[in-house]
Symmetry: C2
Subunit: 216 residues, 2 copies
């Protein structure tokens, strides 16, 4: 259907579109760890295939078709992550790179059956919603801890940063999905946050607070 490179570009553009309406060449280059000139080449190709809206120097957005393709890749990625953690017992910080390869397996029938086999899970191991086979999925209504007030409590439900390093840090602190936490104090000096979890106090930096999401 689409090449591996094309799929990776569409996924990157989709991801960046969540933050800014129009995505710039440099943003894509940074996301994919490639050069701006390579991005320009690919954008011309994707535009020709009607997967993106592109005018020179103006940045890009996905067409409806492009968005459908991107969401399908995300669906595949998240279902495979769920499979790796729930069925093969990998840890949540080990599955990203494998799923990155597996998401390019092309059969939709395969993915639909995998979905059914696992009982139609709604979130992957990092708390991200899994699109259904029509491409529908709930917007994340999760809030970064950095955005809530003192004395608010909630359930750890997702992460913004998916890096192994961050996930391993959370694991070590016990800050895993499903845990109930309360924001006890925000240090005005450096915006560090003190959480209460299971009657213990845990201090996290602002960086961590920005990347750790809770459901209220």
């Amino acid at each position: 259907m689409h090449t591996l490179a094309e799929e990776n570009y569409l996924k990157a553009i989709f991801k960046l579109s969540q933050i800014t309406e129009n995505v710039s060449t440099n943003q894509i280059a940074a996301e994919l760890a490639t050069k701006a000139s390579s991005v320009t080449d690919m954008l011309r190709k994707l535009a020709e295939k009607l997967l993106i809206n592109y005018t020179r120097y103006q940045g890009v957005s996905l067409t409806q078709t492009g968005e459908k393709v991107a969401i399908n890749i995300i669906r595949r990625h998240r279902l495979w992550e769920y499979f790796l953690v729930e069925k093969l017992h990998f840890k949540w910080d080990e599955v990203h790179d494998m799923a990155e390869e597996m998401e390019h397996i092309s059969s939709n029938e395969l993915i639909d059956r995998l979905d059914e086999f696992m009982g139609f899970p709604s979130r992957d191991p990092h708390g991200d919603p899994i699109p259904d086979n029509k491409g529908n999925f709930k917007k994340n209504d999760l809030k970064p801890i950095s955005a809530v007030d003192v004395n608010i409590c909630g359930i750890i439900s997702g992460v913004k940063d998916h890096s192994t390093a961050f996930l391993q840090y959370l694991e070590k602190q016990g800050l895993t999905i499903g845990k109930k936490i309360t924001v006890k104090e925000i240090i005005t000096y450096d915006n560090a946050v003190i959480l209460q979890m299971e009657n213990k106090d845990i201090q996290i930096s602002r960086d961590v607070a920005i990347n750790l999401l809770i459901a209220l």
Copy 2:
């Protein structure tokens, strides 16, 4: 580790090596539906990487390293086929192309866990033995029906031809793995074979008899 193209060449060479000691350029070209000149290019590359023994005009064989890689690809392919049939309930004639993609997922840890998850199966849905994670696997001691005498009985245990068309034909005739059959008669005129299975007689052509394997 190795590129997709390299892996496909190694697999093809391994398969052809089962039949003839030294594999020719044209044989590989036919197996991979490509041109002899493309094969020559790749052979030089694989020889440089010490995966094959190659001297110009003399055909190739796998080195020990090359064979290890090839067997690993076959292990991955057969485990994924088993997964697709046993866990996702695909039919045996539907899984080949999907497994062809999945066999290139690179993580060995993933494959070992998949193996464990499924209870270390010893044969794939087509009766082919699955190598263990050390690369050991039993040689197939199966015989094509075309090679057994009248009145001999056995269990259908494998196929030589893995094409969808052949598998669908067998399915329709009920000639599936595990079924017990007896060779009743061999027609001298065209070498067609009459089998008895579950008290019914089934006639198969010589072509089918060559490609259908039984355990005695």
